[in-house]
């Protein structure tokens, strides 16, 4: 087994495109679920709206890249308002049901035949990312060192992605230590208590939903531009559940939780993938038991197992405070 390349692949995955995408999506979810306690099970739809905002505006309407970004952000805001206005007055579980259903509606609309002219149907859209790569000041062959060596295009999208991650994390840190963040955390604990103290709980929840959704759209931009294509089935419920996994892995309501969670999630997936493939080709795992084509599924099973163990032995995530979690039981 080539341990060198297995570890170098894992190290690259820890800062790679998937990590950036899920870190951003989870940063948004962290504001909604981690701080405000909103059960948004439709984060994939916000990401899809960001991705399709850019893709449709550039590839179909022929508008500049910047317009696509603005449309993506606006779509996320509108979608958050559409979801939140009717459901945020109700109990928390209604939002969960509404968001998971609405996210599927978005995905199914994107892949529907009727809208093929706008969304590309189940094939999605391509050829919209050049406007973004034209902005790149990087012209060399490759950048970085050791395992972290990427092509100029990959470096550019990763650079923009990580700058976005840093800015969003900084923003989260700034607002969560402010009185605004305090109200949000209060709502997570008990919204009636916060209401009795004269705060407009509904308005705060709506703000959190919109804010988290807009950050989700940022993840969508990186998703679409990094792959230079959009495909509707990338934005299914699995995306949302992986985002929750990333968030819980790192620790909810922690600024760095989503980022570290995403890095570990993708590094571990790459590691298990490499190890399983290596073991099969070396004959350590008999081919009767598992073939290389099954590795993709098995590694997710292993990640699931790891998550169960994490929830049992470290339910607060990597950054969480166990004492804080224990208070919940009271």
């Amino acid at each position: 087994m080539d341990w060198g390349s297995i570890f170098s692949n894992a190290a690259a995955a820890a800062v790679g495109l998937d990590t950036v995408i899920y870190a951003l999506a989870a940063l948004g979810l962290n504001i909604q679920f981690g701080y405000a306690g909103l059960l948004n099970f439709g984060q994939a739809a916000f990401v899809a709206l960001g991705a399709y905002g850019v893709a449709t505006m550039v590839a179909i309407a022929g508008l500049p890249f910047g317009v696509g970004v603005l449309v993506g952000l606006a779509a996320a805001v509108v979608f958050a308002l559409l979801l939140g206005l009717p459901t945020l007055r109700l109990r928390a579980d209604y939002l969960a049901i509404a968001t998971i259903a609405a996210a599927e509606v978005v995905r199914l609309l994107a892949r529907s035949n009727t809208l093929t002219d706008y969304t590309g149907g189940s094939n999605g859209l391509q050829g919209f990312a050049e406007g973004f790569y034209d902005l790149s000041p990087l012209s060399g062959g490759s950048y970085g060192f050791g395992p972290w060596t990427f092509s100029a295009r990959a470096t550019w999208v990763l650079l923009v992605g990580w700058v976005l991650v840093a800015l969003v994390a900084l923003f989260t840190w700034a607002v969560m230590r402010s009185p605004w963040g305090r109200v949000l955390k209060g709502i997570r604990e008990d919204e009636d208590a916060v209401r009795s103290l004269g705060k407009n709980v509904y308005a705060y929840k709506l703000q959190a939903l919109v804010l988290g959704g807009v950050i989700g759209a940022l993840a969508g931009f990186i998703f679409a531009l990094g792959r230079a294509s959009v495909q509707p089935d990338n934005y299914g419920t699995a995306f949302t559940f992986f985002t929750y996994t990333v968030l819980l892995l790192g620790g909810a309501a922690r600024v760095f939780g989503p980022i570290v969670g995403a890095a570990i999630f993708w590094a571990v997936l790459s590691l298990t993938d490499g190890v399983l493939r290596g073991a099969i080709s070396a004959g350590a795992i008999p081919s009767a038991l598992m073939s290389t084509s099954q590795v993709g599924q098995v590694r997710f099973m292993l990640v699931g197992l790891a998550l169960m163990l994490l929830m049992i032995f470290r339910p607060q995530g990597i950054f969480g405070d166990r004492k804080e979690l224990a208070l919940d039981a009271r």
Partner: protein, 332 residues
Amino acid sequence: MPADENAPAPGPEAAAQSDAHGATAIGTDDAAGPRKLAATLALADVPRVPGAPKPDPVLVADGVVRRFGGLTAVDVEHVEIQRGVITALIGPNGAGKTTFFNLLTGFDRPDEGSWTFEGSSLARVPAHRVARRGMVRTFQLTKALSRLSVLQNMLLGATGQRGESLLRAVLPTLWRRQEEANTQRAHELLRRFKLDAKASDFAGSLSGGQRKLLEMARALMMEPRMVMLDEPMAGVNPALTQSLLSHVKDLREQGMTVLFVEHDMDMVRDISDWVIVMAQGRVVAEGPPEAVMADPAVIDAYLGGHHDASLADLDETAVEAEVDAEIEKEHR
């Protein structure tokens, strides 16, 4: 205060109003006591009937009805709460006290009715606006925000915070000074409630009684004019009871109006100036604590019609009487 029920109060409104104003003037900014006297004086001429008009009502409710399906939980024709007084709302389980509380504070909507606080209507006003107008409530099941520190709990109570707007939140220079002033006030209140040593602990680590204290202190951060306490003594360790009682009395001494729901009759007798009794959703009696607790209608409402005989006794005597009658008949 002897009850003068027979004498018709000639223009009770005007007479007692001047009375009340005179008395509060004496009591202003004095230490414990004077407000109690003022409260007693102000209520002296109020007739002891349900819905009695008060000389200086801060809260007036009219025809407030709340139905849950076929059940009428609250049906209050008219009730007034005197300003600057501690009023207890008592009644048996299921009398509609907490529901009435929820209606008054905007946490529930009535099917009919109107009510005013300080002269302005509160019907259809959402709960957070009711609180901002100066009427703050606490809850029967204490709502300490567990995973926030005691100090953060307190700061959440401060009103008009500039940093609570998302746009200003990112620029601490816009709210830091106000935050410092609020923090100082929070520490002062925590000292008063003897919670200052716990300021940086999670609120979830406090005992039941300490949570009640925190909830009350947090409500005071809003500088309310009326405080509504829903069972302030429920689940409180007896050692803390006296402390809580004195804090409630203290609210009156600071010029606040207090309305509280309570089951503990000793507490009601000890601290309230006026008692309103609810049964089956209606106000059935009103008056000073001693008078109300001696009222047969109240005792009936609480204990049912045959409160003076246990069910077993009742059956026995009835059976005995029947048997005696039969024996007599036979012997005749």
